[in-house]
């Protein structure tokens, strides 16, 4: 140990001047980028959350914590928080579940054309979200929409408070579960054949193999999918913007959509910043909980 520390402090061999320049320039650009587009705006938003701030008319008046206090009594905000948590939980769960089931099915040795299925499942992921959402909006039309026509239903999916958020969730899961398919497929391909063979030799049936070998080995992939999904879905708003505009009434407001409205419709940047920081805390807590749960399972 003492030796390795000593090695650390030994002078490194002289690097070519050009390499040093390249390194410094690269680091400077990266730092400048992050500082300009992340650190400074986040700092400005944090300070702005304590102000009555409207950049359109130049208003910037210090109001202390009143933007945060106002949130406590803002029913729409808390409804949006509830909706966001529900939306996030349901969509993350089904994205991971469907993603795993499809990937496991494709992974089967009896399935041919694996690349075809992977491509088909992944295509919605790379399709533009706004375009896909507009298509789904038409599919949800109560009289002439494809969904009601196929299912023989007469449901006003987007204007019924009991189905509107569900409709947004269904569209989002359909759009995004291909991402989980590809990641799980990569995880499955990385599993050691020897371990799987050994489990079979030890008498594992298919279900036991899945439950006791495959799923535990895929835990890092699951964690990645869940954490990435949570971060993504806590910020979701495009679906709501296009499909329901928060309606009927306020029943499908998600927090990010509310923030968008506050900032870019009402130009109330102060309260939008306060909401953003509350959302930031939720995201951090949800991510930490996911790590904790996964770490607990791994132990």
């Amino acid at each position: 140990m003492a030796r390795s520390r000593l090695q650390l402090f030994q002078k490194r061999p002289l690097q070519p001047r050009s390499e040093v320049w390249l390194r410094n320039i690269t680091m400077f650009c990266m730092l400048a980028f992050y500082i300009t587009f992340f650190i400074v705006p986040i700092g400005m938003a944090f300070v702005g959350s304590f102000h009555d701030w409207n950049p359109m008319n130049g208003k910037y008046v210090k109001v202390g914590v009143s933007n945060y206090v106002a949130l406590l009594s803002n029913e729409t905000f808390w409804l949006s928080v509830k909706n966001t948590l529900l939306f996030c939980a349901v969509v993350v769960f089904f994205r991971a579940l469907l993603g795993f089931l499809c990937a496991y099915a494709i992974y089967s040795k009896t399935v041919r054309g694996k690349n075809f299925f992977l491509t088909m499942y992944y295509m919605p992921v790379i399709a533009p979200l706004v375009a896909v959402t507009f298509i789904w909006k038409f599919m949800y039309e109560p009289k002439v929409g494809l969904i009601n026509t196929l299912l023989g239903l007469s449901v006003n999916w987007l204007k019924n408070k009991n189905t509107a958020l569900l409709a947004v969730m269904i569209m989002t899961v359909w759009k995004d579960f291909g991402y989980a398919v590809v990641l799980y497929m990569a995880g499955l391909m990385g599993l050691s054949e020897e371990v799987l063979e050994a489990a079979k030799v030890d008498g594992c049936n298919g279900l036991q193999l899945l439950k006791s070998v495959v799923l535990p080995l895929l835990r890092p992939t699951t964690l990645l999918i869940i954490v990435a999904s949570i971060i993504s879905y806590l910020q979701a708003y495009v679906q709501v913007l296009v499909l329901t505009e928060g309606g009927p009434g306020t029943s499908t407001y998600l927090t990010s959509y509310l923030i968008y409205n506050e900032a870019f419709v009402k130009f109330s940047f102060g309260s939008a910043s306060a909401m953003s920081f509350v959302l930031f805390v939720f995201t951090a807590v949800a991510t930490a909980i996911s790590f904790k749960i996964q770490a607990g399972k791994a132990a």
Binding site: D52, N54, P55, M56, N57, G58, N115, F116, T119, M123, A127, P128, A131, V132, F134, I135, K137, F138, E141, P142, K143, V144, S154, N156, L158, K159, N160, K161, V242, E245, G246, G247, P248, G249, T250, S251, N261, F264, V265, K266, F267, S268
Partner: protein
């Protein structure tokens, strides 16, 4: 080979997907909020109109003589000393109507290049205020009165004497700020009833049946409603998705109820008149059974696709229908009233605006923009084309009796009563947001009318409290 086939298949699928996306985006326009649509659609349809019989853009002529009423424009005076100059001009959606104005101007001044930049309406009002704050904002842009507060501090005043503007135009006073104007109205618009003439005829109705009161209206609507086995096949009347802009923000004027209290700074939404309007709408579905909340998510789409016989809409629908749904044979009549012997006003009015000029632009570019504004205000041909294309009643005094207006049904039905509409001022866009929420809470979520209206009133007043806004409803004088 397999891989090649697969690639071709996938490529075709993506292309088809993109085609489908394009179509959807286009048809989605009417599902936006009303003001969004009215301007978007007016812009959309301008293209078709410029080629239709209603506008005269194709026959636009470039004069080498000074023209105009009080505001005169002399095309022989060089701009920027004849040196080449270019400016950016922003507008929303593809709009050959406005482009024809620019083309006409550039034909007079070939040294001026106007770079027209299109933006979707919703993005436009996010991007434009931010762009005007910086150094890269457009020199010239299309304005909308709903977004007055978002851009006013970056507007340059028109470099035209106010008395000349007053001499040529109506409706100038709401735009005067400290003796200057920053934009004007090309025309005034409002809501009317659009009806499907073929359905009207099939129901045995004639022009003599055009209703003047709401009671008469619902009797007609019942005749236009078709059900088979209890299922609604054809709605006589629908209002889905437009409760806010077409009803709660206008029909209450018929009962003498303003949106604003006497201070003109706070609103009253939870009042007897608004309750009566909302109850009338609910009765249309629940009592008269002439439509259903779940029939079609958007009543304008339903009308445009031949599923509904009558809808209320603002004038933009006239051109939108002609451009996008030419097979629908429709007419327009004035919105009915509760009591035809006691009319305070028919509805709310709003306006389409002239250009805004970015005061932060280069002075030479600002000078060009000022010249374009002067050209537009002096050029009756362009203003008439805009009025017809946007279905707005022209504010230029000399165009008020132009025979060409008779070609536009949405304008013609207003000819005798255009002074009986209340202009409340440049209402902030959250009015529509909160009243749309209230309407949906009542119609779809079963919330009590008073509760929903009170929630909307509280939200609007809370937001107004943070603004320096004064309505001008008190400037309206009802006919004696």
């Amino acid at each position: 080979m397999k891989k090649k086939l697969l690639s071709v298949l996938l490529a075709c699928t993506m292309v088809l997907g993109l085609c489908a996306c394009g179509d959807q985006a286009g048809s989605a326009a009417p599902e936006d909020t009303a003001d969004t649509v009215q301007t978007q659609a007016a812009a959309d349809t301008a293209t078709a109109d410029s080629a239709s019989s209603e506008t005269t853009a194709d026959t636009a002529t470039v004069s080498d003589q000074a023209f105009g009423d009080t505001i005169k424009y002399d095309p022989t005076v060089p701009v920027n000393n004849g040196e080449p100059i270019s400016i950016d001009y922003w507008l929303w959606t593809s709009d050959e109507l406005w482009q024809s104005v620019m083309d006409k101007y550039m034909a007079i001044h070939p040294n001026v290049t106007i770079n027209t930049i299109n933006n979707p309406y919703d993005d436009y009002w996010v991007k434009l205020p931010l762009a005007l704050e910086g150094a890269d904002g457009p020199t010239l842009f299309n304005m909308h009165i709903s977004y007055h507060d978002s851009v006013i501090k970056n507007l340059a005043p028109y470099d035209i004497p106010l008395e000349d503007i007053r001499a040529d135009f109506n409706n100038v006073e709401p735009h005067v700020i400290d003796g200057q104007v920053y934009y004007l109205d090309t025309g005034v618009m409002t809501g009317s009833i659009f009806y499907n003439k073929d359905m009207w005829e099939a129901a045995g109705l004639t022009e003599a049946d055009i209703p003047e009161t709401w009671d008469e209206f619902f009797e007609v609507a019942k005749k236009l409603t078709i059900r088979e086995d209890g299922q609604l096949i054809q709605a006589g009347f629908e209002f889905n998705n437009y409760i806010n802009s077409n009803y709660l923000m206008g029909i209450q004027y018929q009962l003498g109820q303003n949106m604003f209290n006497d201070d003109m700074k706070t609103v009253t939404i939870n009042n007897d008149a608004e309750v009566k309007v909302m109850q009338m709408l609910l009765d249309a579905y629940n009592v008269y059974e002439v439509g259903e909340a779940d029939f079609c998510e958007d009543s304008i789409v339903s009308f445009a696709t031949g599923q509904t016989a009558m809808v209320s809409s603002w004038g933009w629908l006239n051109d939108y229908m002609k451009a996008n749904f030419p097979d629908i044979n429709f007419g327009v009549f004035q919105v009915p009233v509760f009591d035809k012997n006691n009319i305070y006003a028919y509805n709310r009015s709003n306006t389409e605006s002239t250009f805004g000029i970015n005061k932060n632009a280069d002075p030479a570019q600002i000078a060009v923009a000022q010249d374009i504004v002067k050209f537009l205000l002096a050029d009756n041909e362009s203003l008439l084309n805009l009025a017809l294309g946007q279905s707005v009643f022209p504010t230029k005094k000399s165009l008020a009796n132009d025979p060409a207006l008779e070609q536009n049904a949405a304008l013609y039905c207003l000819k005798d009563t255009v002074d009986q509409y209340v202009f409340p001022g440049a209402l902030p866009s959250f009015f529509e947001t909160y009243l749309a929420e209230a309407g949906e809470e009542i119609l779809y979520n079963g919330v009590d009318i008073r509760t929903a209206l009170q929630t909307a009133e509280d939200k609007i007043n809370a937001d107004l409290a943070g603004m320096d806004f004064t309505a001008c409803e008190d400037a309206y004088t009802p006919r004696k």
